[in-house]
Amino acid sequence: MAIRRLAAAPRMTLLAALPLAVAVFIGLLAGPANAAAPRVSVSLISETASIEPGASLWVGLRQRIEPGWHTYWLNPGDSGESPTIDWKLPPGWQAGPIVWPLPERLPVGPVMSYGYTGEVVLLTQLTAPASQPVGAPVTLRGHASWLVCEKTCIPEEADVALTLPAIAAKPADGPGAAAIERARRTVPSPSPWPASFEATPETVTLRVAAPGLRADRIAEVWFLPLRWGLIDHAAPQEATIGERGITVRVARGLLPEAAGAPADGVLVLRERLDQGPVSQAFAIRAIPSGVRVAGPGLSLLAALGLALAGGLILNLMPCVLPVLSVKVLALVGHASDARLVMPRHGLAYTAGVLVSFAVLASALIGLRAGGAQIGWGFQLQSPTVVTLLAYVLFALALSLSGLLVIGAALAGLGHDLASRPGYTGSFFTGALATVAATPCTAPFMGVATGYALTQPPLTGLLVFEAVGLGLALPYLLLSLMPAWRRLLPRPGPWMVRLSQVLAFPLYASVAWLVWVVSRQAGPDGVAFVLAGLLLIAFAAWLHHGARAAAPGRRRLASGVALASVAAAIALGPLVASGPWAAPSRPEPGATGTRSEPWSPRRVAELQAQGKPVFVNFTAAWCITCLVNERVALRSPAVAEAFARKGVVYLKADWTTQSPEIAAALGSFGRSGVPLYVVYPPRGGPAVAVEPRVLPQILSESILIEAVDKS
């Protein structure tokens, strides 16, 4: 570690240089010597004791700064200058950028400086060529220049050098290892939380979606931007910590255009722990509000197209197909008559779909505007809603089985369509199709609904309505085009059998919804749902049997049936509210790749350890998710690929509400599950890598390829 000082600061006189020269001389005699500039002495230190050909090593420029003086960070603040290192390395060597430890805030009068006092180690990763000959020592040289200020400023510079042996073996720790590790610990780690900011002419409000922080533990919050211009560095920062995360308000900086671009910076949290305060620094990129967070830029037209296509595909999903099929069956039965009745049914059905989509989307957009961290499919996060949906599908299934004839008002699925036009029924079938469709987020829909939720409310609503139109389109077209209907098979007894067969996907859907409740509310919740289903079945039997009975008995039966239904409905909220409502737990005994629960912190930790991470954003009520898990995620080949690459599998379960997961989905421009993300391993402490989003319909090969690329 011999360092020779070659250049002196301009202010240095010969007289001042004399003791310095003596000091250097003594230093040389004593062994490794450091350059001794007037205010800062620098040396080059290495984490390893030797150089391995083809491998990287971390070196550090250590600055020892005279008390009262400071050097600067990457963003020096309102004045000053950040240090530079001009590397002069042997041929084939490569140097990374300086990796900056967390600076201090150093207010000087009306300006703010970001810099270092005492001692700092500026990290750089150097890479030796594979052709590096072993045996001979290698000298790594650089020219460092920096500004050091107290109240006045002095530019200083020095040549630094470091000589290490090149050995074809894993190197041992060098004498600088401890200092480099200390410095590395203060380098900001990539933030696991999405961030955005909003700028007015006077203020900038930074929002970091870090929900669940304990406000009473956080002593201080600071945002240090990487560039000058967005915020007034010297102004006080007003931080609040709420349920949804951290908000920092600060006076606006001078550069108007800074508000239109993503703002990179460091968020510093000073946390009070029992063993004393601990500072944590996160590298964040705050997106100007209203701008899409991630993913490909999407025009409104493209979003509408994707939404329409997604809606069309929804028709094929197991939860929607029976509903639609029965509607089509009704068309078959009456293909020839009532020229005007058919189109009207089609329109009523479409209206039902569109209105219910509008209601759902408005509720979603409204709740989000009110701050709720929810997304598409949010309604299924409530066990009550899932329970009621199970009842409705169960009643429908009973009706298809021929065990229950429901009035047109409820479902419009009756066989007597021609005798009773039942437009209301068609309308509600549309509504039912919408409700049943929500668990099946079709491909394309994730991108489109994600886009919808980052747009102004009306644009967002338009995108959701496009999904609805897609869902309604097949039936609408069939009802409007008598010619197309002629392509349908002739009516006959097969229709009764088909509708009975179609009851079974619905029973299956009910079974699945009961399972969802079991994940959301535990065994007691299941008991309530099953009791409710029993009551529904009882009511159906009473209703069915009473049709042929005398008026008095019929009224009694109807009354009891209604009471049963009311009791079943009353059980719905109980499923959710009781003390037995338990949060979902990781699935026990899942085969294939083992997963751990996801948390933003865990992702950051694993990344810091240089491990690739796969995150599965899923929910029990999301059929697409379950299909993907069964088809791709649990396959032995995928498990093998994960193991080969050391990929850590994290599962973010959105079965019940989680603002943290909603925020993470939002950072990828999504508002619903499924979402699959691969984070490649990081190159170094501050080298952030872009996570890769995988398609919503997974296959083994897609997953294995993604993992191999990571």
Binding site: D78, S79, M112, C153, P155, W228, L255
Partner: protein, 216 residues
């Protein structure tokens, strides 16, 4: 000129209004805040400060002319870069020869780096062969705070209509290396050219670089 005299004269000459207004601004924001009264794109706030000759000079008296404001501190390495390379003097000559008014301001407080008496300021102009229209002494820092001057050098350009059209660095090489003057993009020169051609200034705001202004 003796220093106490100059301060008394300053207070008398500047009159109540500027001082009170500026003091109120400063007092209202005791902890700094760079968002000063001066804003690019808006009329440059008027000020009056004593020249080295003792005569009060106000910005308002130059209405109809383009004005450059240069904050300086002759001991700051960044200022020295531009004076020792001759860059600043050349720019001053280039500007003033085209009728631009060049006001060099010194806001260092007494006892701080860069503080000079009127006589020392004149001597610096002579010895450095500088060519400002006039050097203004802003020892209380009033004008500096009004313009949010944070660095030396910190440059401002006011157009003929009195609107502030540029604020920030002299160029795009924030270093102390003299060699970096060559080939740098000089923002002030570009702003002056734009103003002369009745064009909008392309880069109206930049991060000033240099030493902090040594306010009291």
């Amino acid at each position: 000129m003796q220093e106490p005299l100059s301060r008394r004269r300053f207070v008398n000459l500047t009159g109540g209004s500027v001082l009170v207004a500026a003091a109120a601004t400063v007092l209202a924001r005791p902890r700094s805040s760079l968002a000063a009264a001066a804003k690019v794109g808006e009329p440059a706030p008027d000020f009056t400060a004593p020249a080295t000759s003792g005569t009060p000079v106000s910005l308002g008296s130059y209405k109809g002319k383009v004005v450059v404001l240069e904050w300086t501190n002759h001991q700051c390495p960044y200022v020295r870069k531009h004076y020792e390379s001759g860059n600043m003097q050349a720019l001053q000559r280039e500007a003033t020869s085209q009728g631009v008014v060049w006001l060099t301001l010194i806001s260092s407080a007494k006892g701080e780096q860069g503080y000079v008496t009127a006589a020392q300021a004149d001597e610096l102009t002579r010895s450095r062969n500088a060519a400002p229209t006039v050097v203004l002494l802003d020892e209380p820092g009033t004008v500096g705070h009004m313009y949010g001057a944070t660095n030396t050098p910190h440059m401002y350009v006011v157009d003929r209509t009195g609107v502030l059209v540029y604020a920030g660095a002299i160029d795009d090489r924030p270093t102390t290396r003299r060699a970096d003057v060559e080939g740098a993009n000089n923002y002030v020169r570009a702003a002056l050219a734009a103003v002369a051609a009745n064009q909008p200034v392309k880069t109206p705001i930049t991060r000033a670089y240099g030493c902090t202004v040594k306010y009291s």
